[in-house]
């Protein structure tokens, strides 16, 4: 026992220190380790959740963008179709208008030609009549004899009918 005393080892002090250490351990466990470890767990959980949420949000955004792009593509396609349709209609209309215009022009030209023909016929008729009359007058003068009016008309008629 003397050796231990000289080294300063004393049973009472030893027991005091053991009790002290156990109390310290209990206090630290209760007030420090458990709350801090829980806090660390809580933080880890939160961070994991945050990461997961961010991942979800990113996926959602990607999904939405894909959808949007699809929509856009669809609309573009529709617009293309409508443009094609309208172009087709316009072409058709133009064709139609052109055709109508052409027909109209043809009709006008035909009418004009007919008119001109008729006029020429009429003028020719007139000229022929006048020529016949003139020829009769000349013939009268030349022949010196006057045909009666009735005979005259007969001759003109014959002339006009192409018999003379």
């Amino acid at each position: 026992m003397g050796a231990l005393t000289n080294l300063g080892i004393n049973l009472n002090f030893l027991i005091t220190q053991i009790i002290h250490f156990l109390i310290l351990m209990w206090l630290l466990k209760k007030f420090v380790y458990t709350p801090v470890l829980n806090l660390l767990d809580e933080r880890r959980r939160r961070i994991e959740e945050g990461l997961k949420a961010a991942e979800l949000a990113r996926e959602e955004a990607a999904r939405q963008r894909a959808e949007l792009e699809k929509q856009l593509e669809e609309e573009r396609r529709q617009a293309q179709a409508r443009i094609a349709e309208i172009t087709r209609q316009a072409d058709q209309l133009r064709e139609q208008i052109l055709a109508e215009a052409r027909a109209e022009a043809e009709r006008i030209i035909a009418a004009a030609r007919e008119e001109a023909e008729r006029e020429r016929e009429r003028i020719l008729q007139e000229a022929r009549k006048q020529v016949a009359e003139l020829a009769l007058v000349i013939a009268q003068k030349v022949v010196g004899e006057t045909l009666d009016t009735q005979k005259q008309h007969q001759i003109i008629q014959k002339f006009l009918a192409g018999e003379l």
Binding site: G2, A3, N6, L7
Partner: protein, 70 residues
């Protein structure tokens, strides 16, 4: 004579652990130099190894203290 005895006990007793600690650190440093990625792990184990080697010196210390103070 007690002073001499305790001095000798501690001094001679520290030779072996001194060499041992040196060897432990030698190995650990070579390990770290070759493979620096595991430096942390090697360092922890090195400290433990040093502690075990040092235990021998501690027995010498106990003897020296007993000689000196008892």
């Amino acid at each position: 004579m007690e002073g001499l005895a305790s001095g000798l006990a501690m001094g001679l007793g520290a030779i072996g652990p001194g060499i041992g600690v040196g060897l432990v650190v030698l190995g650990a440093l070579q390990g770290i130099a070759r493979n620096p990625e595991v430096a942390g792990e090697i360092r922890t184990n090195m400290i433990l190894g040093i502690a075990f080697a040092e235990a021998i010196a501690i027995y010498a210390l106990v003897v020296a203290l007993l000689l000196k103070f008892v």
